[in-house]
Amino acid sequence: MNDQISRSQFWRLTAIGTIGFFAFWYLARVLHFAPPQFLPMPHEVLAKLIDLLYNPFAGYVLGDHMLASLQRFGMGFGLAALVGIPLGLAMGWFRLLDDIVTPLFDGLRFIAPVAWVPFAALWFGTGIGGPTLIIFAGAFPPCLINAYRGARNVDVRFLEAASMLGVGNFRTITEVLFPAAVPSIIAGLRIGAGLGWMSLVGAELIVASSGMGNLIVRAQSAIATDTVMAGMIAIGVVGVVIDVLIRRLERWLLKHRNA
């Protein structure tokens, strides 16, 4: 924009920014912004993170908590994609379906996913159904909307060609709309994964006896702040990994299409 700085300058400033962040953190402790049990030092958090890999907290080691979370995430997100994408594509093709579903969808869309927790608990107890419902509530809208938009934005000429060739509805959706909508669908998956992961954490904060959300809320009751922070970091890292994986998928798919 205004200042053009060289590559090396950019990275130097980035390094300063990173060091500055940690320096500020340490400084906050040194200056007693908060008592030690409320604000552990960065290396203490890291140590705790490693410790949690071997020593259980709230019943399980870090790995097992993470596994439980990922299982629930997988179910909820998988369901959201499996229902949302075909439905979105179908809505993009069948006007009537669009007219029927959209009002219902718009009505439910503004309800925050976490608001489903009471019903989830009521219907599924502490089983895996509860968190799955909430993750579904979070991940479903982006999957649906993006598949829908992708289908609607397909170049009309493809559709004209398909109808000229006498291709039926089902094949039009699967062989014309779907491939054309793939970029939009993947974008929807990425957003959905992010929202789903967040909804999972929220659900586990309230109605779970294992998992990352449960881990940090138990740590909070015990005022084990280093564990809370370690948990937050682990949650963040896995969230990034999921996002990166989906981006990889996106790149692989795009390469495939242009080949």
Partner: protein
């Protein structure tokens, strides 16, 4: 018209399923009349420490505060990072380190620091609303076309005038996208925070109703959450239309 029909059909099915046929167990999902009764009850008698308007008002207050602070810090920061590569390099690390942590994951930490009072809720709402504001303002500035920026510099526009008369108006569409996302995140986070522990607010109604196993009240609270979210989003949309009067039809040849 199909829309209205769908809603009506849905309501009828709901009534049939719960009341007439008893297909759905009322302890699992409330009947329409029960929901209405719960709604009236909370309006007149109150539920969970207060009447309906008190809860709604409290939630709105917290969202407004967290949102306002997040946006007043986030938008200028995003604009700065977009305009100055130096600022971007310095601030990005902190941002990238904190961004992956989902806002809801901040709730336990916020409770440790600020207890179960309003403060911890506002903190979490701030964290949730902050990120989209920054990112979208940043993108907004970066998307201003190069010729326009060059024209501004050519005209001798500097400093505050550059910000107020070029950067902000040029980024306004994206800034509003960010605001909408921030608002959405604010509501989601507030409901979660209140569900975990609060005296007042829509989330606290949900919590209380869940504990009392009062499905009708759960539904009332859920619908209210949706309505508040929709209403505030609508308001933002109105603001958006008014803020950008230059985006209308074609006049001359």
């Amino acid at each position: 018209m199909v829309g209205v029909t769908t809603v009506v059909v849905f309501l009828v099915l709901w009534y049939l399923a719960t009341t007439v046929t008893g297909l759905v167990n009322p302890s699992r999902f409330p009947r329409p009349n029960e929901v209405w009764a719960a709604f009236s009850f909370i309006q007149t008698e109150g539920y969970g420490n207060g009447k309906l308007y008190q809860h709604v008002f409290h939630s709105l207050q917290l969202v407004a505060m967290g949102f306002a602070v997040a946006v007043s810090v986030g938008v200028p920061l995003g604009l700065l990072m977009g305009y100055s590569r130096r600022a971007e390099a310095l601030i990005n690390p902190a941002f990238l380190l904190l961004r992956p942590i989902p806002p809801l994951a901040w709730i336990p930490l916020a409770i440790v620091w600020l207890g179960l009072d309003d403060g911890s809720k506002i903190l979490v709402i701030f964290v949730a609303a902050f990120v989209p504001s920054v990112i979208n303002s940043y993108t907004g500035v970066r998307n201003i076309e190069a010729p326009m920026m060059e024209a501004a510099r050519m005209l001798g526009v500097k400093g505050w005038r550059m910000v107020a008369e070029v950067l902000v108006p040029g980024s306004l569409p994206m800034i509003f996208t960010g605001l909408r996302l921030s608002l959405q995140a604010s509501w989601t986070t507030l409901v979660a925070a209140e569900l975990i522990g609060a005296l007042y607010g829509l989330g606290s109604i949900l919590n209380q109703a869940a504990q009392d196993i009062y499905p009708a009240m759960i539904l009332v609270a859920m619908v209210l959450v949706g309505l508040c979210g929709a209403a505030t989003t609508w308001l933002l949309g109105q603001l958006e239309n008014r803020a950008m009067p230059w985006r209308k039809g074609r006049v001359a040849a």
